[in-house]
Amino acid sequence: MALMSPPDGGTAGSRGLVRGRKALLAAIAVLVVGLVITGTLAVVTFRGHQRTEKTLLALQTTLIADAGEAEDQLYVEDHLGAAATLAAATDGDVATFRRAMSTSVGTGEPFVTGSLWRLSGSSLQLMTQVGGEPLVPVTAALLRQAAASKTFVVTELAAGDALRLGFAAAASGPDGTFVAYAEEALPAGRRISEPAGSPVAQLNLAVYLGRSQDSAALLETDSSAPLPLRGTTYTTQIPFGNTFLTITTSPRSSLSGTTGQILPWAIVGGGLLVTVLAALLTERLVRRRESAEQLTGEISRLYMEQRSVAETLQHALLPQQLPDIPGMEIAVRYLAGASGVDIGGDWYDVVQLDDHRFVFIVGDVSGRGVRAAAVMASLQFVGRAFAQEGYPPATILDRLSRSVDIARDGHFATVLCGLADIDAHTVVLANAGHLPPLLLSGDDAHFVTVNPGPPVGIPGPVPLASAEVKTAANDVLIAYTDGLVERRGEILDAGLERLQEAASKDYSSLDDMLSGIVTELSADTPTDDIALIGLKWLR
């Protein structure tokens, strides 16, 4: 049975695939967004940290330059410059020069050697010398350069492993120009080491003479890293005599503390974790929602299937083909009401007895559902059987009344039964609680009210009455169930009047008439079933 067959495997499989892919795509989307956010945050934090490092480095380097290297400039000016000025003022008094240099030349003092030169015209004359010997002989060019310079001149001297800086400062007096010369030893291998507490201790430091960072120009460094310094560096240049000192630094460790350094990595780690969790959660939620959607679809599909099975059953119970009775035109309609899956118990039947007699039955079992349909089926079979035996309508209804009991079955039925004799132009009608049939005769349309007995299934003391109606050619009798005329909130007579009006219009055929009546009377969404039978006498 269709109801039992499993859902189509292929469709279900591809649906599952699509579902999985949708969930995966959602998860990937979340993953991508999460990664982008994490990456951006990490980069921003890292950049921020780098900026902070650079600012701190610049600050510290400037401090170092100001405090340390600028001090050298002052020192040379204060001592060597002052000695030259004294010499110029005292006409090259040697004793004065020696006294002036005594605090800056010697062991433990900055200068290794010092000397005073007189420059007059083209002649150079060494006046005196203090401390040790110059590393290389003092050149006239240097001294003349000093005499021409507004500030002291600096030169780098090398002999073997020994390295020195030579300074020459000149001053002119009334008796000529005097040049004071001194040498400062550079640290061995140009290496210095800063004490641990020094602010320089956490920096790599390289000092060059001049504006370049050539290794040849390096004066001193405390860096164990290869030069020139790489990574985060800061370079500043300060005037030094006739040249410059270039100071380059790089941090040995994070200057702003470890937090700033760790933060980008913490963001990367945390962000990745949150992203992966969010992606997993999204995947699960999407999957769950989709399976809920699928379940809803499945339920509605089953519901529709059940509804369709019920309707199929209903239609199967009704006569598939009406007998072709000479002298008669017969048309029927059946409309299922929209009341969920429950089918109604409306039915109609036409049973031919011989060439000029037939029985018609229209019935409506109370309530809905499969049980109501079952009662309808049994009433239909019983009615058909007794009709074929040639019983009159009142007897047929009485027999029907024995096959259903409201106390036992929970259902009763209103039934209209008629026996038509075409030759005799008569219809004998009996009515068990059913709505009266409409007879259209010429311009007249009226309901044939047969004194009704109680519906079948409700025992009544009164034997059923029957009435005989005369028929003529072109007469039409319409029997129907209450779904056609009943409308919520409206009295029954209004529906009956509507039927009367609709049936009285002009129609090209009986079939047309039934279509017209149904269109006119059925609500947009009829709740109850409608069964309708039309009989037209052709003679």
């Binding site: 109370s366 409201i406 007995g453 299934g457 409700i458 009544g460 003391p461 009164v462 209450d482 909130g489």
Partner: protein
């Protein structure tokens, strides 16, 4: 005892009491397919004991369709006599059309 419906159901008020040993069910408002089952369950709860007679007071019924007939029909089968008291024209018409007039005691 009273029950009042709202929303999608038609609005019906059910009152039950006992009069000289006979249960009386008073219905007022509208009685149709949307609330017939509810009314039926309320009535069967009220009719817990055995009784030979049952009275329906229909004076307040403004509208009734075939669902109401089903209600009366099942009552008829359960007790010996069902009295329909003060049926409004709508109720009376429906009872006559469905052939229940002959097996109900209609007062007045």
């Amino acid at each position: 005892m009273a029950a009042l419906d709202s929303g999608d159901r038609a609005s019906v008020t059910i009152k039950t009491w006992v009069e000289d040993g006979t249960p009386v069910v008073s219905l007022s408002g509208e009685l149709d397919l949307t609330n017939a089952e509810h009314v039926r369950s309320v009535i069967s709860d009220a009719l817990s004991g055995q009784t030979a007679r049952l009275v329906f007071d229909m004076s307040g019924v403004q509208f009734m369709d075939s669902s109401g007939i089903a209600l009366l029909a099942s009552a008829i089968r359960k007790v010996q006599e069902v009295e329909l008291r003060n049926p409004t024209p709508i109720v009376r018409r429906l009872v006559e059309l469905t052939g229940l007039a002959g097996i109900l005691r209609i007062t007045p």
